[in-house]
């Protein structure tokens, strides 16, 4: 047998099965061929006479820092039907069963990433030994792809760790580091990375001797005893389910399916448990949610590499431009402080300049608070906090700007002030220093207009709060050099953010698409729909917050200022409602000022946790799910939907005391109750329509980039794939139809279908293959 994917050899009475030897990439993934060869090797081990006397089998990786990162996602995406997917899962399970059933000792040596199918392989071994490297992490991330672990992970993990820990890992997909894994009992022993193989070889000769050295943890023993209890298990499942529903409103299939399989399977034998698992895998795999999440996964992978210039007029590629290693920030406000945090956290030693000590202290507070919360969560030691926070140099003068590789401006949104500052900066910084503006609303082209070296200038738009928002918009103007763009892109990736390259145009990408969403909200309010109904409908769709809440977050002053810019740039479809003017005249700031549409506590927290309210009234999972289905497929199930409309209607009219009384005062006296589906369409259609225009104008490269930006920048529900993917799966003809109806009944300017949409419908295409045809 010639091994082309795995290595298989016997030395000193031990069989070694190695992965990743023949892979070019640094990441080891399981392909179909790898699994087939593994199967063959296992069959040989089972049947070959010469293997009878072996001490055992060691599974290991030839790659440093990666054991096995899981099944190749491309393989999963190539599955054509639920049956095929289930069968694939069952085949994998069978191979891993063979590992479990071997008459030999089996040891997995894990040094580096051990995820998904790779982790499931390790779980089927008798022993798992791992290295103490900080690259060593264990996880079952399938849920993040809308899937269930399909190779026996849900079956084997609970027998290694407590049910609560297993559920937590599988439902969140989170990564467990080596030391934690040892504590949890996930691995049997941990050794220094360089000694893992030699210790593994000793271990397999006499595991008991080496396990004796490990101290038993009383707490884990007690917990596992307790959790074996049938009743306790039931409670654990119930808690887990409540948590899932609270977090996802029951809209997300995968975690619910996982719970179903694990609860139903927990009393059963291996074969029936595994068949539940593979069946569920098949169902989830072919669902839209998983497809969308897998696309997102590919988008994320793709986003880690600089895609080239958004426009074709510049020559690309460049030759590995130098990395950005030092930074300076102008303006220590909320954004400046947040960016200072991000730069400090990533060893860019930011200089932070402002005009007085008080302003600087505000910025320092901003960053320190973020570090402090990481410290509280034990993600950071006090020393690390101290070092990182102190790597920020607060300045009143421009000392040191001559050494910076990048300067980010985050001062007041005023074109003239910014322009004069950039002119000054040009003379202070070194010749290859990149200058960026964090403006959210001003024209990058205009800001670049009188620079001596506009090619090193661009927009770098961070979102607030900087530490939490994963998206960065990189805004190019016609003179931005490819080199500048690539350096900034690489910086964004190094900051562990997700960059999207956007051509300069009003509002760039994300804010432009949020514009119609928020504008339409004010029209709905004007028509008498309640704040509660609007936000709840939006939450029910899966948005992280409703448009009213969102406006408070952005700041009412900022939000409407931006909408004026849109109105100037794009005309009537962005015309403010009369109600918006009334809201504006109240001079409310939103959350930062303590009150906006809602009221806030002094510390800025919501005066009542709205999410909880929704969770409590959620009822059963099935109710939620049926509602979700009725929305996404738009097959109106009369009974459930009307019931829903009633209940939300009543909650809307009831006096919600978290809403600012000043706002209630100016809301119209007439009350309108719309079905949530209608509200959702009213809010989302203009967004989708605007996205079509953005795509048509070439503001971003393709539909996937629009969706990527919206998911990362606004929290648009990832399992819906983004506004354009969502539109594609709903059917563009239906979208167009709905737009036309609303144009007739609600507003001809705001619902006027984008030309691209009409064009795609008439040619029978959709947003996603619009790009392909262009390419």
């Amino acid at each position: 047998m010639v091994w082309a994917n795995i290595t298989f050899e016997v030395k000193n009475q031990v069989a070694y099965i190695g992965f990743g030897k023949y892979e070019e990439k640094s990441v080891v993934v399981l392909s179909k061929d790898t699994l087939t060869e593994l199967n063959t090797a296992l069959d040989e081990l089972r049947s070959g006479q010469e293997y009878r006397e072996l001490d055992g089998v060691i599974f290991f990786s030839h790659k440093k820092n990666c054991f096995i990162a899981g099944m190749d996602v491309n393989v999963i995406s190539s599955l054509k039907s639920a049956e095929e997917a289930s069968a694939g899962s069952a085949q994998g399970q069978e191979i891993f069963n063979k590992i479990e059933d071997l008459d030999l000792k089996t040891v997995a040596l894990v040094d580096g990433t051990c995820m998904g199918g790779g982790f499931e392989l390790a779980l089927s071994c008798q022993y798992i030994l791992c290295s103490d490297s900080n690259k060593t992490v264990f996880s079952l991330p399938e849920v993040q792809l809308g899937l269930i672990p399909g190779f026996g992970g849900t079956y084997r993990l609970p027998s290694r760790v407590s049910m609560a820990d297993a559920l937590d890992m599988i439902l969140s997909g989170k990564q467990i580091r080596a030391s934690k894994a040892l504590k949890m009992g996930l691995v049997d022993e941990m050794y220094a990375s360089a000694r893992l193989m030699s210790m593994g070889q000793k271990f397999i000769k006499n595991p008991k001797q080496y396990l004796k050295l490990k101290k038993k943890n009383l707490k884990t023993t007690l917990t596992s005893l307790l959790q074996d209890n049938f009743l306790v298990k039931k409670i654990i499942f119930q808690k887990a389910r409540e948590k899932v529903i609270k977090k996802t409103l029951g809209l997300f299939d995968a975690p619910l399916k996982i719970l179903e399989v694990m609860e139903e399977g927990s009393g059963q034998g291996r074969a029936s448990y595994l068949s539940l698992e593979s069946k569920a895998f098949g169902e989830l795999c072919l669902g839209d949610q998983s497809k969308n999440l897998r696309n997102l996964f590919f988008s994320i992978e793709k986003s880690k590499k600089f895609p080239g210039h958004a426009s074709s007029y510049l020559n690309y590629p460049t030759q590995n431009p130098p990395k950005i290693k030092s930074s300076a920030i102008l303006g220590a406000g909320t954004m400046g402080g947040g960016i200072a945090y991000l730069f400090a956290d990533n060893n860019l030693n930011p200089l932070l300049k402002d005009i007085n000590i008080e302003a600087l202290e505000l910025g320092l507070k901003q960053s320190s608070q973020i570090f402090y919360s990481s410290y509280k969560k034990k993600r950071l030691t006090r020393d690390e906090w101290e070092r990182k926070q102190r790597s920020i140099t607060p300045l009143l003068k421009y000392q040191g700007f001559n050494r910076a590789d990048i300067v980010v401006e985050a001062i007041i949104e005023n074109v003239e002030i910014k322009k004069s500052i950039f002119r000054d900066l040009e003379n202070m910084v070194k010749s290859d220093c990149i200058l960026c503006s964090n403006t959210s609303s001003l024209s990058i082209t205009e800001l670049a207009s009188n620079l001596k070296n506009p090619e090193r200038f661009l927009g770098l738009h961070f979102f607030n709060p900087v530490n939490k928002m994963p998206l960065i918009e990189i805004i190019s103007h016609p003179k931005t050099s490819a080199d500048t763009l690539e350096r900034v892109y690489n910086l964004a990736v190094a900051l562990k953010k997700f960059p999207v390259i956007v051509k300069d145009s009003p509002g760039f990408l994300v804010n432009r698409l949020l514009g119609p969403y928020i504008t339409e909200m004010t029209y709905l309010l004007e028509e008498g729909v309640s704040v509660t109904d609007i936000d709840r409908a939006s939450l029910d769709f899966g948005m992280p917050m409703g448009p009213c809440r969102l406006l408070d977050e952005i700041g009412i002053d900022v939000g409407f200022k931006v909408s004026d810019i849109f109105y100037k740039a794009f005309g009537d479809r962005f015309r403010k409602s009369d109600l918006a003017d009334k809201i504006l005249s109240l001079n409310l700031l939103g959350r930062k000022g303590g009150k906006g549409i809602y009221l806030y506590n002094e510390d800025g927290s919501e005066s009542e946790n709205e999410g909880e309210g929704v969770g409590n009234s959620a009822g059963t999972v099935d109710e939620k799910r049926s509602r979700d289905q009725s929305q996404s497929t738009q097959n109106t199930n009369n009974s459930s939907n009307s019931a829903r409309a009633d209940s939300s209607g009543s909650s809307g009219s009831s006096d919600d005391n978290t809403i600012n009384p000043e706002i209630k005062e100016i809301l119209p006296s007439k009350k309108t109750v719309f079905e949530p589906r209608i509200i959702q369409m009213r809010l989302l259609l203009p967004m989708i329509n605007e996205a079509a225009r953005v795509l048509e104008e070439g503001v971003v490269g393709d539909a996937a980039s629009v969706d990527f930006g919206m998911i990362m920048g606004t929290g648009f529900p990832p399992y819906r794939g983004g506004p354009l993917k969502h539109a594609d799966s709903e059917g563009l003809d239906k979208i167009l139809q709905a737009l036309k109806e609303f144009a007739e009944n609600v507003s001809s300017s705001r619902y006027q279908p984008a030309p691209l949409l009409e064009q795609l419908v008439s040619s029978g295409k959709n947003f996603y293959n619009f790009n392909q045809s262009k390419a």
């Binding site: 000590i357 202290e361 960053s367 070092r387 102190r390 140099t393 607060p394």
Partner: protein, 431 residues
């Protein structure tokens, strides 16, 4: 000095100084130096790997940073090949650091050296006594339960009484008297009255307050981030009192000799946190990196005497230094002498102008200090005395004041616990 290279002070800065337990108490000791080096590097184009050495004076030697200089160098972003070491000449550690930097550059061994001092007296530890330490050792060695119990049985509650490291450090192990008691001794032997001392202290506060008010420290102080949450900025000294008066000082009780003493907390320097730093360069380095030096080091000298007379040691150090350089006291345009105690300054002023008193210390009288040139921005009594840093802090202040006055020669000197004095002469180049 003959046949050696000139040594230039390119830049000199300090942190604000704050009384122990006040604003700087939470700042980990290395950061009292890190920001200074960073800020100076920002002002130049010296590559980060071109700095030869970092030499830092420090007395408290925090257990966590046995060689604090290396930590400062790395945290400040200097290249890993830059060497660093820590020096301790008690109160003159900062000056010792400068003297070593001076010699290394003068002797062509190095071209670019950061030297200075850092001290966090707030963070000096409490120490378990000998008996408790022995008990811990016994416990660690004990193998059986019986041995462990036997070790524990030796415990007595008094073992828990901590020793205050700072108190121990301020007591001379040779003559076993406290630094404050040496000041009392001087006030007795050289007849210095309580009133004179309080007057002196009040004057020190007045000068320091005026210096702050006129912004005279703005160039020398680099602001530092402070606070438990590391989010406030301190840019001025916490110590000088604008409400100081001779009357109020007169109401304070003597601290070291409670019955008949004259030395009070008010006419002594407070224990203080702070850091100071100088960038020393050779002529070649100045040319290579286009650096504009602010001053030149002429020479330095250290001198010893009986530990109980440590307060007047600057008289000896200055005398011998002037002899080396062939200068007269009147050649000095500014004089900075660190104020440990008012009594100590007043005594040394008497000694240097009185032949018979000078003789007791084997020197000749060499003149009188011109008050208009002396500690013009206040001294240690108002600004504080972070022991490891003061030796370089006075040079930082001296260099900036010379520059401001376009004056030429400046002398800085200080007394050193243990019976030594140190002095240095620099020449201002920005005239």
């Amino acid at each position: 000095m003959k046949n050696i290279r000139e040594v230039f002070i390119v830049d000199a800065n300090r942190t604000p100084q704050a009384k122990s337990g006040m604003d700087l108490k939470d700042v980990p000791v290395p950061y009292l130096g890190v920001g200074l080096i960073r800020s100076m590097m920002f002002k130049t184009n010296i590559p980060y790997d071109a700095v030869d050495e970092v030499i830092i004076g420090n007395v408290g030697c925090p257990a966590k940073y046995p060689n604090i200089s290396r930590v400062i160098a790395l945290e400040a972003g200097l290249d890993k090949k830059t060497s660093g070491y820590t020096v301790n000449r008690n109160c003159a550690s900062g000056l010792e650091a400068i003297s070593q930097g001076f010699l290394k550059i003068a002797s062509e061994r190095s071209d670019i050296i950061f030297c200075g001092g850092v001290e966090s007296m707030s963070q000096m530890p409490l120490i378990f006594g000998r008996e408790m330490t022995d008990l811990f050792i016994m416990l660690m060695k004990a193998k059986s339960l019986k041995d462990k119990l036997a070790a524990l049985a030796t415990f007595r509650p008094k073992f828990l009484k901590p020793i205050v490291a700072i108190e121990q450090g301020l007591t001379d192990p040779f003559c076993n008297i406290n630094m404050g008691q040496t000041a009392e001794l001087l006030s007795q032997e050289f007849s210095i009255s309580r009133e004179e001392q309080d007057q002196y202290a009040n004057n020190s506060h007045a000068k320091a307050v005026a210096a702050h008010k006129d912004g005279r420290f703005e160039d020398e102080i680099v602001p530092i981030i402070v606070g438990n949450k590391i989010d406030r900025i301190l840019n001025r000294d916490i110590g000088p009192r604008s409400d100081s008066s001779v009357e109020r000082l007169g109401q304070m009780k003597p601290y070291f000799d409670k019955k008949s003493g004259t030395v009070t907390v008010g006419n002594s320097c407070p224990i203080t946190d702070g850091g100071s730093m100088l960038l020393l360069c050779s002529q070649e380095a100045c040319e290579r990196y286009n650096l504009k030096p602010i001053a030149k080091i002429i020479d330095y000298h250290f001198h010893g005497l009986g530990p109980e007379y440590m307060g007047v040691a600057p008289a000896l150090a200055i005398y011998h230094l002037l002899k080396r350089t062939g200068q007269k006291l009147s050649d000095m345009d500014l004089i900075e002498i660190n104020e440990a105690f008012a009594a100590q300054i007043l005594a040394l002023k008497k000694i240097i102008k009185d032949e018979s008193l000078a003789k007791r210390f084997d020197i000749e009288a060499f003149g009188e200090i011109d008050e208009t040139k002396f500690n013009v921005n206040g001294g240690g009594i108002a600004l504080g005395h972070p022991v490891g840093s003061s030796g370089s802090r006075i040079v930082v202040t001296l260099a900036h004041e010379l520059k401001r006055r376009s004056a030429r020669y400046g002398l800085a000197s200080l007394c050193i616990g243990g019976g030594q004095g140190g002095a240095i002469i620099i020449e201002n180049l920005v005239r």
